[in-house]
């Protein structure tokens, strides 16, 4: 039921993760949206998801008019996403019309129009009461018909017809060299144009979505990374434009009484994000594990992302210094997810993090170490990703702890540290020094937003009971 609202216009949820958030409700309702991109960029998948989700999530039947693939091809594509196309058709929720234009069969003589197409589309829409329509890809008509003038004017008429018919349409188009689409379809679609891009940068495939046009909305020309996995397309969440995060005055423990004591309030603020830096072997992971344990003891769901150790390794290593994480793993209060950074692109990592966070709804998230991500992305890309992640965590008031490997001499110049340290609320730096052939471990609170803290470097030792701070030097 179409309701006339007083807003500029209503929107239709696409069912594509992330896109509906970015657009604030989906694509313009009852208008055509152009989705363009080069071959293999995901246009057809976008279209299929739009229709399929329309059926499963929003009870809107859909018509898929395909100019390129046959019915069986489409069915295969859709099945691979886990949708039962045959059932959709049997339940009268979906009609697929495959328009085949065989140029060699056709001769043009005299005046004609494309009314046949209109009739087919109309019939398909009426037969199931469709609210969503896909034309994929209408540019194929240009390969079959010579009379371009007729074609263009009929396409223009078709888009107007779709508006009048009251269906939300997704039109796909092949990327052109100088124009958005090869045939310049963007001329006829004024409401919404989305561009899908697919690039291979340093052997990692990256996909980006850009909203080129969205009438009535102020949209930046931001590109949003997106992924294609077994569930279809997911667009990565955007950062909030305003810094309107909820804050808490509640104090929580870092997991170590001694370290809590270094903070003026005897602990850290709930919902804060902490960065732990240090060169190799400076006990960053141990500190992160204390943080983890503390969260679990508060009975808070904790998610630990490890880029270096397997869950078993982590648990065993921490066990040896009396941090027992086993019971928390067993009760599923703690979930450890390990993966090698180089296995997939940055977007996949962020998406995975995001998905796991959505799935488990943790109150604490650990990422150990974030510096590993530099092996799969440029500094700028990793920075963007971290900004998004931290923003997401802050929006949900999730306690966060990130570790990062730094090089002794270059700490201030390490760019991830540079970015995250300004975003993080707490920054603890760990150090190892060899003095007189003895390894001296120390840590220092570099900053703690919103509260006083000890600035002096504090030495500590690690034994089988864990980290123990050494008495502070009374000398000034």
């Amino acid at each position: 039921m179409k309701q006339k609202s007083k807003d500029a216009f209503s929107k239709t949820l696409t069912g594509i993760d992330g896109l509906d958030e970015i657009t604030g409700g989906g694509i313009p309702q009852n208008r055509p949206t152009l989705v363009c991109g080069s071959a293999g960029c995901g246009k057809t998948l976008f279209a299929i998801q739009f229709i399929a989700k329309g059926i499963t999530d929003y009870n809107e039947p859909g018509v898929y008019m395909s100019f390129e693939e046959s019915k069986t091809d489409i069915a295969q594509n859709v099945k691979s996403l886990g949708f039962d196309l045959d059932k959709f058709i049997a339940d009268d929720k979906l009609r697929i019309d495959y328009v085949r234009i065989e140029r060699s069969e056709i001769e043009e003589t005299g005046d004609y129009d494309l009314e046949g197409l209109f009739i087919r589309l109309n019939y398909a829409i009426d037969s199931i009461g469709a609210k969503r329509v896909v034309l994929d890809t209408i540019e194929s008509l240009f390969g079959g018909i010579d009379n371009v003038a007729v074609l263009r004017s009929e396409i223009r008429r078709l888009f107007q017809w779709l508006k009048d018919k009251g269906v939300t349409a997704v039109i796909t188009g092949e990327r052109g060299d100088k124009t958005l689409t090869r045939q310049g379809l963007e001329e006829y679609v004024s409401d919404c144009v989305i561009l899908l891009d697919f690039r291979v940068i340093e052997q990692i495939a990256t996909r980006r979505l850009r909203i080129v046009k969205y009438r009535g909305s102020a949209h930046g020309t931001n590109e949003y990374p997106f992924l294609i996995d077994e569930n279809g397309i997911s667009v990565l969440p955007i950062t909030s434009l305003k810094l309107e995060h909820k804050i808490s005055n509640e104090i929580i423990s870092t997991g170590l009484d001694d370290i809590d004591g270094l903070f003026a309030k005897g602990g850290i603020f709930k919902g804060s994000s902490a960065l732990v830096t240090g060169s190799a072997g400076t006990a960053k992971t141990i500190l992160a594990s204390y943080f983890t344990k503390s969260s679990c003891l508060r009975n808070e769901k904790t998610l630990y992302f490890s880029f270096e150790e397997s869950p078993e390794q982590l648990v065993r290593n921490m066990q040896s210094i009396s941090i027992n994480l086993k019971p928390f793993l067993k009760s599923k209060l703690l979930i450890i997810h390990s993966s090698r950074p180089s296995l997939q692109g940055l977007e996949k990592h962020l998406l995975l993090l995001y998905k796991k966070i959505e799935q488990h709804q943790p109150q604490t998230v650990i990422v150990d170490p974030i510096s590993s991500l530099l092996s799969v992305g440029s500094i700028g890309e990793v920075r963007d990703m971290l900004v998004r992640l931290i923003d997401l965590l802050k929006t949900k008031n999730i306690n966060a702890c990130f570790t990062s490997l730094t090089h002794e001499s270059k700490m201030e110049k390490d760019l991830t540290v540079d970015v995250v340290s300004s975003l993080a609320d707490i920054w603890i730096d760990m150090k190892n020094e060899d003095i007189n052939n003895r390894r001296i471990r120390s840590l220092r609170i570099v900053k703690a937003r919103g509260m006083g803290h000890e600035t002096q470097t504090r030495q500590f030792i690690i034994n089988n009971k864990g980290i123990i701070l050494v008495e502070a030097n009374k000398e000034s």
Binding site: V99, E108, T109, G110, D111, I119, R120, Y123
Partner: protein, 97 residues
């Protein structure tokens, strides 16, 4: 003399529009002239039977489909160009006397 196959033609229209009327008039004329007795023309009005458009893959109106002899040939337009229609349907024109 080799017996030639009968031509089975289908003309798809969408109501009695000028183009459709012209197309029917034209094809009937050409058939009378060049295929005397060896043809059938079936007129399908898609406004009355929209479900029939899919079968023959009709997207343009008017469309003339030669079902027999095979292979299928399609001619779109009002069929005003006689020569092109005959060539398109592969009809050997009977020269006018």
């Amino acid at each position: 003399m080799r017996k030639e196959e009968k031509f089975e033609l289908r003309l798809y229209i969408a109501g009695q529009t000028p183009k459709s009327v012209a197309a029917l008039k034209n094809i009937t004329k050409y058939c009378k002239e060049h295929l005397e007795g060896k043809y059938t023309i079936e007129v399908i009005d898609l406004l009355k039977n929209p479900q029939l458009a899919e079968g023959d893959q009709i997207f343009a109106i008017p469309t003339l489909v030669r079902k027999v002899p095979e292979p299928i040939r399609k001619i779109i337009g009002d069929l005003s160009n006689e020569e092109r229609v005959l060539v398109g349907l592969n009809i050997r024109p009977i020269p006018k006397k």
